[in-house]
Amino acid sequence: MIKRKNINKRAWFSSPYIIWVVGFTVIPMLVIFRYAFTAREGGFSIENVLALFDPIHFKALLFSLKIALGCTVICILLAYPMVLAMRRLNLGQRGFALFIVILPMWMNFILRILAWQMILSPNGILNFIVQKLGLQPLAIANTGTAVMIGVVYDYLLYMILPLFNAIAEIDEDILEAARDLGAESLTIFFRIILPLSLPGLLSGIVMVFVPSMTSFVISDILGGGKMQLIGNVIEQEFTKSANWNLGSGLSVTLMIFVLISMAFTMKNDVEGKKSAIW
């Protein structure tokens, strides 16, 4: 009984955080919802939220979904061999490899994307190499492909890290046993590695999908202003058109995708919480 009381007392430690959550997470969300459901001239309206289905906005949404889906799939395909290869390294090398993978984050991300613009531009490094090889120059600059390269580049890390954490924890003995019993590499991957790394894969998807859908800097720089993601549309409503209500309305509709990701992670998290008996 005494212990029970102690625990409840300790819960008070979180009061500064609870105040912060209310003040800077809950209220801002309510405020953006209020803007979203208010017409520009005042008064309740759901027009700004339904504006997503305007042909221009809907086109941006479809392009965003295409980029986000493509980016997520490519990141998964690139990251799995990477983490499996990293697993083959010994412990010290693993830590070092991880460190080398994270390090590029310390170069400002806008500059890194600008560097890609230079690499992909018609007279850039890539075409220089391609022409040296005697091939036709590529016209990647200012296309959807350039935007795709940019988002994959920027978010690959967020797929590698959770996947690596999940895969590093798999017991080598299990794989050994499977091999002893005659399982082929593919069987081992689909029956053991994939299921055991599923939590990592899920959090990787969550960390890649929504951000790649809503980024506006990458599409701005690598799309040459022609490739509009839904993030670009929202940003312009705030900076150029100054229609805050419309911008808020579109933001609120984006939250549907955030809610879906949240459902994913919470399922993970609840299973992850071991009973905290004390």
Partner: protein
């Protein structure tokens, strides 16, 4: 033989991914020595941009703002986050889940939505400027601290703390002498993660900063149309190299500690085995 071939292939694959991650960084480093304002022409080697860097008051100001912001927001987020995690951990299962959902919101929400929501709320009570950016950064940093402290809290052996309390230590003394040392790994990694996230952030800063304040990210974004000042490449190269050196040192020390720890764990494990046989 087959294993060796597999090792070689996995190393090649790691090298390929690293090449992809590092190409833009090489480009930026080369540009920082390029004696030409153009981004595509090589005008010979120069150190001018490094010299100019220390004379440029604007860049210096943005750098200081960025660092102060990152340090202050990470520190405050760590204090609120650690006490928050301690409290949440003591809550009932239902409240724990509710709090974790709210903790997930800033992490999963699209940056652009978080930034806009905070901006719409801030304009009701404070002028947009350094203060509002600081509040915003603390808000998105706290979840990273909680996420890195929580697993350690769940693994922590609370009996030691209770024993200390039974022997007459008060709550504060027990916290600083017993709990905090056990949590230190999570607290530190939470702080550094928050620091990194704050330095790397562009979108949320962009929407909450108002006029007059600039971090390195927002300054670079403002220069995209006019052309990036080459001093920026020099500064990023310097930051990159400083972080590289720091992390190499930390990694080296960490590896040495790990070796020690591993020996200790091995010794412990064999002790445990003996107990079993007894």
């Amino acid at each position: 033989m087959v294993e060796k071939l597999k090792d070689l292939m996995s190393r090649c694959y790691i090298a390929l991914i690293l090449l992809f991650l590092y190409i833009p960084i090489f480009v930026l480093i080369v540009l920082s020595f390029n004696n030409s304002r153009s981004r595509v022409v090589w005008g010979g080697f120069t150190l001018d941009w490094y010299r100019g860097l220390f004379a440029n008051a604007q860049i210096r100001e943005a750098l200081i703002t960025t660092l102060v912001l990152a340090f202050a927001s990470a520190l405050i987020a760590t204090i609120i986050g650690v006490s928050g995690a301690l409290g949440i951990h003591a809550m009932s299962r239902r409240n724990y889940r509710i709090m974790m959902i709210f903790t997930n919101i800033p992490m999963l929400n699209a940056d652009i939505v978080t930034g806009i929501a905070l901006m719409l709320w801030f304009i009701h009570f404070i002028p947009l400027g350094f203060g509002s950016v600081l509040l915003a950064h603390i808000t998105f940093n706290i979840p990273y601290v909680i996420m890195s402290v929580m697993p350690q809290l769940q693994r922590m052996n609370i009996s030691i703390y209770e024993a200390a309390r039974d022997l007459g230590a008060n709550a504060l003394y027990g916290f600083f002498k017993i709990m905090l040392p056990q949590l230190m790994g999570g607290v530190l990694s939470g702080f550094f993660m928050a620091f990194t996230m704050s330095i790397d952030d562009f979108v949320i800063t962009y929407f909450t900063k108002g006029a007059g304040v600039n971090t390195l990210s927002t300054m670079i974004y403002g220069e995209i149309r006019k052309g990036i000042k080459p001093e920026m490449y020099a500064l990023s190269t310097l930051i990159f190299l400083v972080v590289l050196c720091l992390l190499l040192v930390v990694n080296h020390v960490g590896a040495r500690n790990e070796k020690k720890n591993r020996k200790y764990y091995l010794a412990q494990e064999s002790n445990e085995r003996e107990e079993f046989t007894l």
